[in-house]
């Protein structure tokens, strides 16, 4: 029996491996292209939104309606979340501070944690879920049912009417919602402090803001404008660029929440780095 040359045996394996590698390279390149296209489209959308903001005929009435929808209608959810944030933070932190005999620092610690980081981020994430998904689903369904086209043919610029108003309403309402959540957080913290103690609200409040400085407050407020802008832009972008089928409405809403939440965390990270450098 003739023996087969081992090199000949290996050739098909090398060929298969080469084919698989080239297929994966093509897939990878295709995915990277799709990703870069998506990023480019989002940047174009963002630039168009900014450009339309400064064009004539700002839709002020629709902007106020969106402020009401985004701001006022989110108050119950934000109140409950804020109060629970403060309450839980206080209950969890108390035993640790107790070990070091530093329970008196509890109000200050909770207030700084809430106002600097936890309040803005948690509120933004909740808003990414509520507002971002709402915008994605609403604009997505308007796209599917040709309402955006109907607006376009009735001489209304849908970018100006639907997108600009929503993005600016989210940008301006989110800082207010965060401040509101912070206030409820401090209330919740006071309630938490009273579970195992007895402290008046006035005393708790004065203790809470004893160590507080402008540098704790200002960056936290500034970054919430960016959180709002990110949520509004992503929600509108996903809805406005949704496909034609009803399935795409769900996809738009879902991807709006995921992308907005991710970008909120990334913006927070950048904001913290900038604040740290400036401090």
């Amino acid at each position: 029996m003739r023996s087969i040359n081992p090199v000949v045996k290996v050739i098909p394996n090398i060929r298969n491996a080469t084919i698989k590698l080239s297929e994966k390279t093509v897939d990878g390149t295709r995915n990277a292209t799709v990703f870069l296209e998506e990023v480019a489209t989002f940047i174009i959308f963002m630039v168009r939104t900014i450009k339309e903001t400064f064009s004539r005929d700002f839709e002020f009435k629709e902007f106020l309606r969106q402020c009401f929808q985004i701001g006022y209608k989110s108050l119950p959810l934000i109140s409950i979340t804020g109060a629970i944030m403060g309450l839980v933070l206080t209950i969890q932190s108390r035993p640790i501070l107790d070990n070091f005999g530093a329970v008196t620092l509890l109000p200050g610690m909770v207030a700084i944690s809430l106002i600097r980081e936890i309040g803005p981020v948690i509120t933004a994430l909740i808003c990414a879920g509520k507002i971002g998904s709402g915008m994605g689903a609403e604009l997505g369904s308007m796209k599917v049912s040709e309402q955006i086209d109907a607006m376009e043919v009735s001489s209304t610029n849908p970018m100006r009417f639907l997108v600009v108003t929503r993005v600016w309403a989210a940008t301006l309402m989110l800082p207010l919602l965060v401040l509101y959540a912070d206030a409820w957080g401090i209330m919740g913290s006071w309630m938490g402090a009273n579970i195992k103690g007895d402290v008046t609200f006035v005393l708790f409040f004065s203790q809470a803001f004893k160590f507080f400085q402008l540098i704790d407050f200002l960056p936290a407020v500034i970054k919430t404008f960016f959180f709002g802008a990110v949520i509004g832009l992503v929600g509108c972008y996903k809805g406005y660029t949704a496909g034609r089928g009803t399935e795409s409405v769900g996809i738009a809403a879902n991807s709006a929440v995921v992308l907005a939440s991710l970008l909120v965390i990334i913006v927070d990270m950048i904001a913290v780095q900038i604040t740290d450098m400036l401090a």
Partner: protein, 273 residues
């Protein structure tokens, strides 16, 4: 304008319409200007070519029905007319203006003269009927007084036979009512050209007939030129002054209703059997 009672009325109207077709053909010697002129239009999506070299004219004051199977490119055609879609090749002239070269402001002005009835109605879900009707009016006639606006809304709602639907939300309306309100929203700004995208699709025969009658009455009352996209032969019979059939993205036949009815072509016969 009163709402139709049923199919018999449509037949009477149809007869009336047939006479009107004859009138138009008799007066054809008088030069009738084209309000929409489409030349060598091509439009594709990716590898799929939907419209291949379509040329047609919509003459002033006529109802032109564009027939064709689903997927033959009818809806793409009217979306190109208002530049919701940009053609790949060819030219579209509306009221003497080349649609593809207009800037955004000029396109907006031109669109004010065109009414577009969408297949789904496309009423704004977040607004009630009154707000839906006010929406285009506020934008196109910017200095209109509230009183004038209310009168105009009452007039168009009466014309479509839905005066009592003023404060209803779109979700509270039936399919036929949505189409009628959508038509009211379109005619409220007095357009010169009406584009109907499948006006009777998804409606029962009686409501379809009512919509067909309404299309004729809009033409008569508002002196509009209409391009009606449909695959509903009853609607075509009731409304058409002239028909164009699209097949595989090109114009297959262009002529009067009689020519289509009497055609021996198997494809046309399959529509008109």
């Amino acid at each position: 304008m009163k709402m139709p009672a049923g199919r018999e009325d449509v037949r009477k109207k149809e007869n009336g319409k047939m006479e009107q077709v004859k009138d138009i053909s008799n007066s054809g010697k008088k030069a009738r200007e084209a309000v929409v002129e489409i030349s060598n239009l091509r439009k594709g999506f990716g590898d799929q070519e939907v419209l291949k070299d379509v040329s047609l004219q919509l003459l002033n004051g006529e109802n032109l029905v564009v027939l064709g199977k689903s997927g033959s490119g009818k809806s793409v055609l009217i979306k190109c007319i208002v530049r919701l879609l940009r053609p790949d090749e060819g030219s579209i002239s509306v009221l003497g203006k080349d649609v593809s070269t207009l800037n955004r402001d000029d396109l907006g002005i031109l669109r004010q003269k065109i009414g577009f009835l969408f297949q789904s109605g496309a009423l704004y879900d977040s607004m009630n009927v009154k707000q839906n009707l006010e929406f285009p009016l506020r934008r196109i006639k910017k200095h209109i007084l509230q009183k004038e606006m209310d009168e105009k809304i009452a007039e168009v709602l009466e014309n479509v036979g839905l005066s009592d639907a003023l404060y209803k939300m779109p979700s509270q309306l039936s399919g036929g009512m949505r189409k009628r309100i959508s038509l009211a929203r379109t005619i409220i700004v007095d357009p010169m050209i009406m584009l109907y995208d499948e006006p009777t699709t998804g409606l029962d025969p009686v409501t379809s007939d009512e919509i067909s009658l309404l299309i004729n009455e809009v033409q008569k009352k508002y002196k509009t030129s209409s391009l009606i996209i449909t695959h509903d032969i009853e609607c075509a019979r009731a409304t058409a002054n002239r028909l164009v059939m699209l097949q595989d993205g090109s114009v297959y036949k262009n002529g009067g209703i009689d020519e289509f009815e009497n055609s021996e072509d198997p494809l046309i016969k399959s529509f008109f059997k």
